[in-house]
Symmetry: C2
Subunit: 335 residues, 2 copies
Amino acid sequence: VHELDLPTPALVIDAARFEANLATMADAHPGPRLRPHVKAHKCTALAREQAHRGHRGFTCATPLEVVGMARAGLGVDLLLANETVDPDRLRAMAEAPDAIVTVAVDSDATVEAAAAAGIRHVLIDVDIGLPRCGCRVDDAGRLADLARAKGMDVRGVMGYEGHLMMVLDRVEQRAKVAACVDKLMVAHAAVGGPVISGGGTGTYDLHDRLTEVQAGSYALMDTHYAKLGLPFGQALSILGTVISSSADWAVADVGLKSLGMDHGNPSMEGYAVRFCSDEHVTFTRLDDGAALPKVGDRVRVWPAHVDPTMALHERAHLVRDGDVIETWAIDLRGW
Amino acid sequence: VHELDLPTPALVIDAARFEANLATMADAHPGPRLRPHVKAHKCTALAREQAHRGHRGFTCATPLEVVGMARAGLGVDLLLANETVDPDRLRAMAEAPDAIVTVAVDSDATVEAAAAAGIRHVLIDVDIGLPRCGCRVDDAGRLADLARAKGMDVRGVMGYEGHLMMVLDRVEQRAKVAACVDKLMVAHAAVGGPVISGGGTGTYDLHDRLTEVQAGSYALMDTHYAKLGLPFGQALSILGTVISSSADWAVADVGLKSLGMDHGNPSMEGYAVRFCSDEHVTFTRLDDGAALPKVGDRVRVWPAHVDPTMALHERAHLVRDGDVIETWAIDLRGW
């Protein structure tokens, strides 16, 4: 099937760019130096491609991602880099087949819930500057002691400098990232263990003290991350069909229900996106752009944020030279 | 099951508010005067409640919604208020079981595609001011003639004044809506047929010339529509669990993947939402607000836009006095 014959909206992955992204990252962080983040794609078939490049440990954001990866045979070393106190989901992760599961903890409550559910491995999640999860640096050692007292293996620490991903000045970004990692190293000194985990696509090349980087967006990218000028290409787009066209604008069937919108409107080459509705994108000509397409023509829409975009689709099509070579289920949606 | 025992994030519908919303709208637009828009909820169980209130015709935005409604036994009078030229999907709608399907058309291409696929009924979709779909007013009669020449029944016209939904000054809004309906009436004079369809929740009470109103958001509402002060209550919220809590902020498991974000951040009573990540909402205390909750506590998050929020969830729970009385599949997702 040619990509232009897919029913629309169709989520498509450019195989050449995707493979180049995986190769570039595997060069920078070979094997276990990268723990790819599954939340960016929620797709075991895509994760399998990352595993083929040597990355056998994965980062997850939800228990469903952890259990789904285990069931897909990708459970060698799964990290839930997020907190949960849900006893059923913790137990499901502890009992996931053929899997080693490590869970992030940042409080007494999360340590106790993990221990009670039979979780065997934890990482101490440390607040290194992003106001989200993570314990205080000076509380990390105490939490590690608590976890060990409850019989769990403490594998080390993690921290996510998510607030620094989009710092455009790389000198400034490098300095700020170093200050965050300083904090993580202080916590690690108190916690111990072999793992120091953190980072993301926007800071992937600024880490030499972490034992592993948690990047996810690098595989598919989006217009938001593209602003950083990283050596990863936008591999993910959405094909739409023009359903209405007037003298001044045209409309394609790619709307809010096929696009993560938290980073704003998507982009279209040669056109200006005016606004999105539930099932529509209205776009106009650029002054020097192409003529508006006619009804039935296909157009390509570039999402601004890959992660929530993937979460809206049931499947993605891998395309090489216009031909659909594989169709992947986005099988890790939900919680 | 009590709603506070649901695994989170959990999409919940307050039964009392939902029923009041349905009653208020059924009073204003009884029976066929309202054609509820399915895109706002994508849920056949919820649509059945609307049908129980006397509204047996429905508005849809995607062919999948049309076919799904027909399969659920709700196909008495289904309108695809949107354009498509997909021959397979048009045929699926034409062959939907026990259904009368009407499709919006606004161009030669959409008329021809509908006729070729065996669609029997069309509405002429007219541009009345929103830069999206719809033919020019002065082209509506010609398109109706073309559709009739191809053997299709032209039931009338539709137009959507979506650009006026959020006009806060009601006097201004009324005048602008009237000008839009003026255009639709001109088109209708050229087209003929019994149906003049349009409107939405934000303008539901400003229509006396339409034969039917297409409102959808009124049933569940969101923080965006709540700004209008309409007599519909916010019935849709997302329950989350606090997974991390510090001195200055707390984090719950309700993020970008459970919230339509195109209208901005969600709201939380008593707290200020600071930002959302894929699986997190970080929130702080208001100056005069409640203390931050502790890990394991449940919190309620109010989405800013109902339609894309529904599209991210597999199910919604109908809750009365805290108890889950029904769980509805959101079974019309996708295209």
